[in-house]
Amino acid sequence: MTTLLIADHNNTSLADATSRALTAALQLGGDVHVLVAGANDRAAADAAAKLDGVKKVLLADDPALDHQLAEPIAALVVSLAGDYDAIVAPATGNGKNILPRVAALLDVAQVSEITKVISSDTFERPIYAGNAIAEVRSTDRKTVLTVRGSAFAPAPQGAATAPIEPVAAVAGDYRSFFVGEALASSDRPELTSAKVIVSGGRALGSAAKFNEVILPLADRLGAAVGASRAAVDAGYAPNDDQVGQTGKIVAPDLYIALGISGAIQHLAGMKNSKIIVAVNKDEDAPIFQVADYGIVGDLFQVVPEIEKALN
């Protein structure tokens, strides 16, 4: 069998989720080719060619493919699909946006956010906010999967470099047009690949307090910053930082939840972290049911004390 992995990238580098999805793609058992579709995206293709286990990289470099719009990328993937038994993408914003469009054009089901490959057609995926794990088998002639990055280790760089082959974008009467974007740039580690995450909830009370309390501890630990939905909705943190069922799914070595109650939807996004620390003034907060170490107390007192103890 042969698998096509659709890379998530920003034209110059690969998203960490791509190498995690590669690990899952390799577990399907066949050769893996990686599609890098974008504009001026040669550098991303070079990075893909260096990943261990990649047999070939397909490079589509076309202005129409800039900004990862679903319509032209799905059309391109469908034009290549004949050669492949499985089509895989990381369950990132782009992967989730594009891949179901591909599946429907191919008239096959998609298995979303797999967390385990049992065999080339059988997978595990969490449902109901991770309160149940479904084992599903695809009966379609092609398998279409998105991969939850937190469940797979990133594939390492290999010794060899895979060949890069150009492929052409598919011309079409696409009716979606890029207008603009506002992307935050940060020196902190990215949430879904960070080893340590410091996450803040509604208790922080304001964006100013969030920045004053969460950011220094995150910087001290070299950590990424996360947030509950309540903190994001209130504007304390950007939408991109939301951890949970409907935000980012993370599994770092250490997750520190500060003033977060531990609603089902939040737990769905972080309960597979290796070690969980919670600080909450309510000793009955549900977050303590999953925390390895809990402190019952006021975070505005406890967090500075943690920083002091670290020094």
């Binding site: 946006n97 059988t122 084992e135 935050a184 939807q265």
Partner: protein, 248 residues
């Protein structure tokens, strides 16, 4: 212009799903069911567009068992004008849902279909994108802002790293994210009025769509349990524990 809003009845977001002992699925008997929260946001957005005079009619549609019409009633109470129930006792996967919705869209000719980004039971996040593919319409998923005009819709989307704005030529597909709006609480008079709004009942066969599942559900198991840890008294003690656990 008409707006079509697909809505699904799902486990309430405050309820906890329990796996059946025979691992055949999740036990939904005696569990509170509600309209999918993202669909509530979709209906709210459509109704606001109608209130702004940009839209003439909001049609809600659901596919599911007879009780699924509770989701339609919830939509009608927010302000949708009428409902369509495509009734079936089968488990219908997103691809087949999208095929049925494509037929409804062909019949109703909406300018925009607004769906939720994900149903909080199956967590698939597929149906809107699939519907876009089947109809050949452009899509803007994970919307946090929707600006509708007669020929186009400009949508700001939540993407990894921030926001992206797209312009789609109509007809188009939009899927909603959490921050698009805050759905209203329907007033009692509106809940009463909703009971009188028309709901048309159909079957998948009326649309000639084959809803046979493509995926075989082999089993539904419990997630690995996480045992509660310990409470520590001081920050110093916490840092000690983390150091000896190798986490720092």
């Amino acid at each position: 212009m008409k707006i079509l809003v697909p809505v699904k009845l799902v486990i309430d977001s405050n309820a906890k799903a329990r796996v059946k002992p025979d691992q055949s699925g999740v036990d939904l008997a005696n569990v509170k069911l509600s309209i999918n929260p993202f669909d509530e946001i979709s209906v709210e957005e459509a109704v606001r567009l109608k209130e702004a005079g940009k839209v003439s009619e909001v049609v809600a549609v659901t596919i599911g068992v007879a009780k699924a019409q509770d989701a339609l009633r919830a939509a009608l109470a927010i302000g949708a004008d009428r409902g369509i129930l495509i009734q079936t006792d089968e488990m219908v996967e997103p691809l087949a849902i999208a095929k049925l919705l494509a037929k409804v869209a062909e019949a109703e000719q909406p300018g925009v279909v607004i769906l939720g980004k994900q149903a909080i039971d199956d967590d698939s996040n597929q149906t809107g994108q699939m519907l876009g593919a089947l109809l050949g319409w452009p899509q803007a998923t994970f919307a946090s802002k929707v600006d509708l005009s007669a020929e186009a819709v400009e949508v700001t989307r939540e993407v990894d790293g921030g926001h992206q704005t797209l312009k789609l030529t109509l007809p188009a597909i939009v899927t909603t994210d959490l921050r698009l709006n805050e759905p209203r609480y329907p007033s009692l008079p509106n809940i009463m009025k909703a009971k009188k709004k028309p709901i048309e009942t159909k079957a998948p066969a009326d649309y000639g769509v084959d809803v046979t599942p493509r995926l075989k559900l082999l089993k539904v198991g419990e997630p690995p349990a996480r045992s509660a840890g310990i409470k520590v008294k001081t920050a110093g003690e916490l840092v000690e524990k983390l150091k000896s656990a190798g986490a720092l």
